[in-house]
């Protein structure tokens, strides 16, 4: 039986506050931690980029990260007077992905302009982190791709006399335009030409699996995207379109895996519901294959993602989940 023991007089009385439930939260889950997960997942990709493209990769990615963070500070904090959002690392993630999506040869001003377009047009005009419709890195990439078509076209990747890998065309270009036979093993490992982050399939897989395990990326998007690409690429192979590009080439070549794991999974610009994520992934995969097979571009990940980003509000609208137990009955 309990005796009443009053609080001793010398103990200061605690001040009691009130707040709505729930009174506990998972403090391990923060936006910053999610962004950090993406950066950690990109480490294998970065290592491969440095291995294949040496200091070009370091310069390009570093410049994009710095420019994106500068753009975030100038446009979001100074111009719009918002509290500093650099700490959440979202601008840094945009910078890393943007840098990895550029060719090694892109001039410094292209990287800077792409970064300001990514943060400014891709994010800040919509209201900052979480409010954007399109993937900021892809907005920046598309902006410079259209503005500087010569220095970013497929010719930009090739240079004789420099690094060994860049003396040949990118694999998809070679397979599509020159009908060359492409070996698969280099595509898997990554010592081929291409944008900085896209060359190594194994690095993208490693980082991607980390993101899925951490649940920072939803597995539904890469799975449905890759499955759709496999189905359509198999159809193209059977039909004999570009006979040297098999299913495996479509999977391992270009930026398919980089895009599937790191770009399409951007939570802000992808749907929220399970069904919506499947639709988004499948739609992105289909758009990639349409661009690869029927357009003048060798690669279509960027435009496919941007196209599907634009459809996300509609997809969310179509896929409102039915509550457990059915819809709320109308009141009589």
């Amino acid at each position: 039986m309990a005796e009443q023991t009053p609080t001793p007089a010398e103990t200061p009385k605690p001040t009691i506050e009130v707040a709505p439930s729930p009174h506990l939260s998972n403090t391990h889950l923060t936006t910053r931690r999610m962004m950090l997960d993406v950066i950690i997942a990109l480490v294998p990709v970065l290592i491969m980029a440095v291995w294949v493209f040496t200091w070009y990769a370091v310069l390009q990615v570093g410049l994009c990260v710095l420019s994106c963070m500068a753009a975030e500070y100038l446009l979001a904090c100074r111009l719009r007077g918002r509290p500093s959002s650099l700490g959440d690392l979202s601008a840094a993630v945009t910078g890393v992905i943007l840098g990895l999506s550029l060719p090694w040869s892109a001039p410094w001003y292209v990287a800077v302009i792409a970064s300001f377009a990514a943060i400014g047009l891709g994010k800040v005009v919509f209201g900052g982190v979480g409010m954007n419709i399109f993937n900021p890195a892809m907005v920046g990439r598309a902006f410079v791709m259209i503005s500087f078509s010569v220095v970013l076209g497929s010719g930009a990747y090739v240079m004789t006399g420099g690094l060994e890998v860049v003396s040949q065309a990118t694999p998809l270009t070679a397979g599509k335009m020159e009908a060359a036979v492409i070996e698969l093993w280099p595509l898997f490992v990554g010592n081929v030409n291409g944008s900085l982050g896209e060359t190594s399939a194994i690095a993208c897989l490693l980082g991607g699996i980390f993101l899925l395990v951490r649940r920072t990326a939803s597995w539904e998007i890469p799975v449905s995207l890759i499955a759709t690409v496999v189905v359509l690429a198999a159809g193209a192979q059977l039909a004999g379109v570009y006979p040297n590009l098999t299913v495996a080439h479509h999977l391992l070549g270009g930026s398919l895996l980089f895009g599937a794991f790191f770009i399409a999974t951007d939570p802000v610009s992808s749907p929220m519901t399970v069904k919506g994520k499947f639709i988004f992934g499948a739609g992105t995969g289909a758009a990639i294959m349409v661009i690869r097979l029927f357009s003048g571009y060798p690669e279509g990940v960027m435009f496919a993602v941007l196209l599907m980003n634009g459809l996300v509000p509609l997809i969310n609208n179509w896929t409102v989940p039915v509550p457990f137990g059915g819809p709320v009955p109308e009141r009589k």
């Binding site: 039986m1 103990t11 009691i16 439930s21 403090t27 923060t30 900052g128 979480g130 137990g325």
Partner: protein, 449 residues
């Protein structure tokens, strides 16, 4: 014509979360009986339904167990005095849920039961599990109503209403809820260990009243001692003890029914729509006390726990005692205590006044410290979907919350705001610290007008 969606019973439910349990603070503490207070203030509305009218006047002398307030309404439950004493001037209290409710204060006067004698009267001694057929369903329902029994898991819905037979909605299963999925709380766990016979007797009586052929007791796997105690108490009675997986909110009645029977309670409906009555273990023990001993519901077991309380305990307390006296009986608040919660941390209400009386539905007093309640400043939603992954009701919490914040009630409705049960999984998981549950409450309130 009833349509019931049935799935395989997987002993769990979709989605939900695994918050840290912190049951270790109090789970090893046996139930103690608190000293009889000098005064209790018994609220006249402790349940869902019509409030009671006081049936005693100031300066009346009352016996322990005397009726203090009652109502003729069907959905209501009388309130009784837990102590012998003198009725003093009527007061008003603010219950943790924010309702202002008149109280009947009783000042202790005369001989009181103390300590073990209280335990013996409420839970001690023998509880028969056979020969209960002598009690007719009508007599059981009447005894439950007279005893003022309401759901003691927190919702406080009058129990006799659930047990009254309705030919249009026959009941096949009585589900006793021993999940206690709220972190920190251990009162039901201790009650199952220490008063298992009373719970079984009450379950058999309740099943008889409701006409249920099957009686099940759902207990989360994180309570092995309770599972063992209930299994041995249930031996030979036909009552099934079911070990369900530990996950929050397994103790939600819809989740428990899904886990054990694989049936889906329709949104806006009740378990009885699909042939089930759900009762908490404490309610079940109270039913046994009412029918077999004629005891009104005047005492209950609750957990006093959290890092902000000096000595966490499980206490048997008289209803109407103040939160402050219970805190004092456990060594008082620690200097770093910042929040006193009535109930568990996920769905409990924080209180600002420790004079607030305990009601029939109070399952715990949780005192939290700054590091436990702190969260990062709110930032924009990044649509990561963790709230969607967590929601046991398959909603899109962030959409409802942001629609509510902008006053877009049509959008909140489109996303099924009224289906939300405010379990708190979404807000617990949100990496942007958005007060999702509170915003959804705003939307629900606007849609319910």
């Amino acid at each position: 014509m009833r349509t019931t969606t049935t799935h395989a019973a997987k002993l769990t439910f979709p989605r939900g979360i695994h918050p840290p349990e912190h049951k270790e603070l109090a789970e090893t503490r046996s139930i103690e009986v608190i000293a009889t207070p000098k005064k209790v203030a018994v609220p006249l509305l402790q349940h869902l339904g019509a409030p009671c009218e006081a049936v005693v006047k100031t300066r009346d002398m009352v016996e322990a167990g005397a009726v203090l307030g009652s109502s003729d309404a069907f959905i209501s439950a009388p309130v009784h005095s837990p102590i012998a004493g003198k009725v003093i001037k009527a007061g008003v209290c603010t219950l943790p849920n924010g309702r202002h409710v008149p109280t009947v204060p009783v000042k202790a006067d005369g001989d009181q039961l103390e300590g073990d004698a209280v335990w013996d009267a409420v839970f001690g001694g023998d509880w028969p599990t056979s020969g209960l057929d002598a009690h007719t369903p009508e007599a059981i329902v009447q005894a439950v109503r007279d005893a003022g029994i309401v759901g003691m898991g927190g919702a406080a819905f009058p129990t006799h209403v659930k047990l009254t037979r309705n030919d249009a909605k026959p009941i096949d299963t009585l589900m006793i809820n021993g999940c206690e999925c709220e972190p920190y709380l251990t009162a039901d766990d201790r009650l199952m260990r220490e008063a298992s016979a009373a719970i079984i007797a009450g379950a058999i009586l309740a099943a008889r009243a409701a006409g249920a052929e099957r009686v099940m007791i759902g207990i989360e796997a994180n309570k092995p001692e309770a599972l063992e105690a209930m299994t041995s108490a249930a031996a030979g009675t036909g009552v099934e003890v079911v070990k369900v997986k530990t996950k929050y909110p397994q103790g939600g009645e819809k989740q428990l029914i899904m886990a054990t029977l694989g049936r889906v309670v329709p949104t806006g409906g009740l378990p009885l729509d699909i042939g089930v009555v759900v009762s908490n273990v404490a309610t079940s023990a109270a039913i046994a006390g009412a029918v077999l001993r004629g005891r009104p519901l005047t005492h209950r077991v609750l957990t006093v726990t959290g890092k902000g309380i000096a000595e966490p305990k499980n206490l048997l307390v008289p209803i109407g005692i103040s939160y402050g006296e219970i805190v004092d009986a456990c060594g008082g608040l620690t200097p770093d205590a910042v929040r006193v919660v009535a109930g568990g941390p996920m769905m409990g209400f924080s209180i600002g006044n420790l004079e607030t009386p305990i009601t029939k539905g109070s399952s715990g007093v949780l005192v939290l410290t700054r590091p436990e309640v702190d969260r990062a400043p709110e930032t924009n939603c990044v649509r990561c979907g963790r709230c969607v992954d967590a929601c046991p009701l398959n909603l899109v919490p962030t959409k409802i919350a942001l629609a509510s914040r902008h006053g877009d009630w049509e959008l909140a409705k489109k996303y099924h705001a009224l289906a939300c049960m405010e379990c708190g999984c979404c807000a617990h998981q949100c990496p942007a610290s958005i007060p999702l549950v509170q915003l959804i409450r705003v939307g629900k309130a606007a849609l319910s007008v």
